[in-house]
Amino acid sequence: MSHAASVHSLWTLAADPPREIPAPHIEYAQLAPTLIVLGGAVLGILVEAFLPRRARYHAQLLLSVVGLAAAFAAVVALAAGGHAGEKARIAAMGAVAVDGPALFLQGTILLVSLIAVFTFAERRLDPAAHGNRVDSFAAQGSAVPGGEAEQAAVKAGFTTTEVFPLALFAVGGMLVFPAANDLLTLFVALEVFSLPLYVLCALARRQRLLSQESAVKYFLLGAFSSAFLLFGVALLYGYAGTVTYSGIAEVVSGTTRTVDPALASTMGNDALLLIGGALVLMGLLFKVGAVPFHMWTPDVYQGAPTPVTGFMAAATKIAGFGALLRLLYVVLPGMRWDWRPVMWGVAIVTMLLGAIVAVTQTDVKRLLAYSSIAHAGFILAGVIAASPDGVSSVLFYLAAYSFVTLGAFSVVTLVRDAGGEATHLSKWAGLGRRSPLVAAVFAVFLLAFAGIPLTSGFAGKFAVFKAAAQGGAGTLVIVGVLSSAIAAFFYIRVIVLMFFSEPKADGPTVAVPSALTSTAIAVGVAVTVVLGVAPQYFLDLAGQAGTFVR
């Protein structure tokens, strides 16, 4: 509050003689996770600038892994130090909250990113080009696809090691996004993690035009949604005279003390609140891929390099839902009766549309894209519960879902033919005959998506539906259960295809990955099973992290 007031006074009182500007008080220790990751990203750029090309890959990989691991350690230290519970505070002059949900989501994002970086660094899957091992990324992003410059770059053995600092920047933004405690920080974090993702999407080594097309689509639609969000921020400022979450919440609940003279005519105008809140929500729903803001998902998921898709599908969803939760629970709890019916509608349409359209898909990446839309709907059911149980169920679901997603996309990178990844479903026929282990692992992930008991998917689904039912959203649970049944159909269809169809003679081969992708897949399977069989410890963790600081 004091921060916003002081910012505000800077320009309303501009005519006053300059006074001493107070130095902001920053709690560096509490912001350590974000600072470490962003610092790592900056170092990564220096590595690109000064290290010889040969040394960059290993240096970048090491830097990313160490940075993410250190940031995760910092999160654990903060949580162990009580910052998730009684010592939860607003830090950095009210810009960032360090509390249970923030730390839980940051920890999850960091772990997911760590695994994702492994898949970024995989260099065993593509056949060596001119004697150089290559990864999933274009030799030179700026070279025209199919042009001479590209051929030269491939021949010279260039690789785009910039993906590592880009990923770190994105992670840095994602860490701030769910912790942002004022609308401007929210917007800045959104841009910090979105812009690197647009670039990453465009960097596929194979099918570069498709990849660039997806990046442009993502960028244009993302820019639109950012604009909506920003407009919403402006309207909310007009309504409350402040951009801090707690400040807006106070105006909404009518407990605010001061009326800003400059905004006297607009403050407390409910039209501004409703329109502004709706616009900000739109921006967030776009990021999590909820209907009707889901249009970008299938194209982007399909076109982006698969490791990026996995990273995006998992980490963006965590960050987006984290921000959504904080917005709805901290800023707009007083508006519950206004936003709940709308979110009901969004959740129902998202679940049904995701599940129904997925049935008709023939490409495994598009299939997973629509499945991610359906899952966004399930998570929204937990969000709507509007209770601490709802928060912790969403946290648990996000953790469970993100590892399954990452694992599933890692498996997709393994199935290849001459044109790169063989993502068309017809090519997956009979995979179970040829590579039983890979097919079995993918089947585990699909069963988890379908929410079959003894997988993490079931525990997560049960948690959110339970919270929704307790929050009085029984209808939503019924719709959720019905769309789960529809969704089960297409997950099962892939299993049928893998195990019960005869393999085609010219079918794809399964590449043998290095330890990096193997680790990613193994972690995915392990988390899926552990969270399915013995979820109590993690439910406790999510339960303790269920309270927002205001």
């Binding site: 005959r433 040829r434 590579s435 039983p436 282990l437 069963l447 379908a450 079959i452 008991p453 003894l454 079931f458 525990a459 049960f462 948690a463 539906f465 339970k466 039912a469 307790q470 029984g474 649970v477 019924i478 259960v481 019905l482 789960s484 049944a485 089960a488 159909f489 099962i492 269809r493 049928v496 195990f499 019960f500 169809s501 005869e502 979820p535 109590q536 439910l539 406790d540 339960g543």
Partner: protein, 535 residues
């Protein structure tokens, strides 16, 4: 702490499944023997359960185990058996070794395939996995725990149906595979849909208990106790909705008309041992769960729904039998006969008389044994000729008399011939139903007449008459096949003459269930004093 017998009975087959799956590709027969040994070990544990079980003991459940599991969901790892469960576990453990023996060569790989493709290991591992999950479903006294295995069971079952079938006959490899995959998907979707509807009801149950008891619970005993004490008062409409959610899932599994259509496909396309696994083992979980969960958790709603369920059961009996008469495919015929029999079981359960429910439990056991006998012999027959069509057979009894003889005994058991086990249970179900609902009981008896028709016509067309060219030179039952069939027939005769060992264990549990639903047997219409006076 005493030895966790119930856990062990489920863990042993699960362990067997893991070990069997791990056997290297070249050591196929080792995998088979390993699976057989583990199924026998499970049988031994089930026998220990039977011995340690005391029918006269106080309390609803025995050999109980209880551990914390998922506190946040109010879920406990709670096991316990009553007379009904212990008998059905014994039935399951008894049938699995026969299923394994009967399917000894069903999953041998054809020709040369990839060295990593190990269908044989997979087949037997999946059978043991199903056994483990079925056993734990019978033992679970926590609704959530039950639900988890009730659902998870579908996955290995699905792979068994879709992954392994009869050798392609005249239909060609591709069409056979397509049909099989269709059957597997249909099985899974029907059951998954049922299960998901039940999930909504399970969540509803949690919400109701959490609202009224402070903490949500899934423990059957706790809920029943709380309702008896008046702490838990479920509104009538809520109770009915929850009941319907549970019943729907069990009715799909059982299967009850009109949710039965997956069964003929699944049993037709699966190999005979897997068909036995479906109808004799897995489907029993559905009827068992009606007794244990529907009646005990929702007694009022059960009574409310009884008229409709009885009519559906009646339709099942007659519809299944009529369609069985019209079948041209041996396995589908047995499937429709099973639908008819499941109608009898459900009729017995919801007649709400001691005789009816005791008869229904006995029926589950007897149907398991008799269908296993009939279906496995049918499987041996089909494997010899490579066709499931009745029209492709004729005069088999002249070429393979032992096969024909055992087929006849299995068939006669299916039509409930007096002297064979199913007669006793069918009689009990019918008298139990008749004493409360005379009209329904009377109509249900037509099911027996139709059963005689479909079984005898099947026998007549396949086994008697002139020997068809296609069955000439058909070998009779081998030793392995005799080892499978002989004990089953012996059991059918033994339980037909002397069913007391089973009824003694079952009856106290049935009486307990009856008190839960607050029903007493109707008084006989003819006063006993008059009967005595007439003497």
């Amino acid at each position: 702490m005493s030895f966790p017998l119930l856990t062990a009975t489920a863990v042993v087959p699960a362990l067997g499944a893991v070990l069997t799956a791990a056997v290297p590709a070249a050591r196929r027969s080792a995998a088979k023997w390993l699976a057989l040994v583990f199924s026998l070990a499970t049988l031994a544990l089930a026998a220990v359960q039977l011995v340690r079980f005391d029918p006269g003991a106080e309390g609803p459940f025995q050999l109980t185990e209880s551990h914390a599991w998922i506190k946040d969901f109010g879920v406990r790892y709670e096991l316990g058996v009553d007379g009904i469960a212990v008998v059905l576990i014994a039935l399951t453990a008894l049938l699995i070794p026969f299923v394994i023996l009967a399917g000894w060569h069903d999953a041998d790989p054809l020709g040369t395939t990839s060295s990593r493709w190990r269908p044989t290991q997979g087949f037997f591992a999946l059978i043991l996995m199903v056994e483990a999950m079925v056993v734990i479903s019978f033992e679970a006294t926590d609704v959530f725990l039950f639900y988890i295995f009730f659902e998870a069971m579908l996955i290995p079952m699905y792979f068994l149906i879709g992954g392994f079938g009869d050798r392609a006959g005249e239909r060609g490899e591709e069409e056979t595979a397509a049909q099989r995959s269709y059957a597997a998907v249909k099985f899974l979707l029907y059951n998954l849909a049922g299960g998901l509807i039940m999930l909504a009801a399970v969540i509803g149950l949690y919400v109701v208990t959490a609202d009224q008891l402070g903490t949500g619970t899934f423990s059957l005993q706790e809920i029943v106790q709380a309702r008896a004490d008046g702490q838990l008062d479920i509104a009538t409409s809520t109770e009915r909705a929850l009941f319907l959610g549970f019943f729907f899932a069990f009715a799909v599994k059982a299967p009850l008309w009109p949710l039965h259509t997956w069964l003929p496909n699944a049993m037709g396309e699966a190999t005979a041992p897997v068909a036995v696994l479906i109808t004799a083992v897995v489907d029993k979980v559905g009827t068992f769960a009606m007794l244990r969960f529907c009646l005990q958790l929702f007694p009022e709603a059960s009574k409310w729904a009884t008229p409709v369920i009885l009519v559906l059961a009646l339709v099942s009996i007659l519809y299944g039998a009529l369609l069985a008469v019209g079948q041209r495919d041996i396995k589908r015929l047995v499937a429709y006969a099973s639908i008819s029999h499941f109608g009898f079981i459900i009729l017995g359960i919801f007649a709400m008389t001691t005789q009816g429910q005791g008869g229904a439990t006995l029926y589950m056991v007897n149907h398991g044994i008799s269908t296993a006998a009939l279906m496995l012999v049918a499987g041996f027959l089909i494997s010899r000729r490579g066709s499931r069509l009745i029209a492709d057979y004729g005069g088999v009894q002249k070429v393979a008399p032992v096969l024909a003889g055992t087929f006849l005994v299995g068939g006669l058991a299916t039509l409930s011939l007096p002297g064979l086990a199913p007669f006793v249970s069918e009689f009990l179900v019918l008298t139990g139903t008749f004493s409360r609902y005379p009209v329904i009981g009377a109509i249900a008896t037509f099911g027996i007449v139709l059963a005689a028709l479909y079984v005898l016509v099947l026998y007549q067309r396949t086994m008697t008459g002139p020997v068809k060219e296609s069955v000439r030179g058909m070998p009779d039952l081998r030793v392995r096949e005799l080892v499978v069939v002989a004990p089953l027939i012996a059991l059918l005769i033994f339980l037909g003459v002397y069913p007391k060992p089973v009824t003694e264990i079952v009856d106290p549990a049935v009486e307990h269930t009856m008190t839960q639903v607050d029903k007493v047997d109707p008084k006989p219409d003819v006063p006993l004093t008059d009967v005595e006076a007439a003497k």
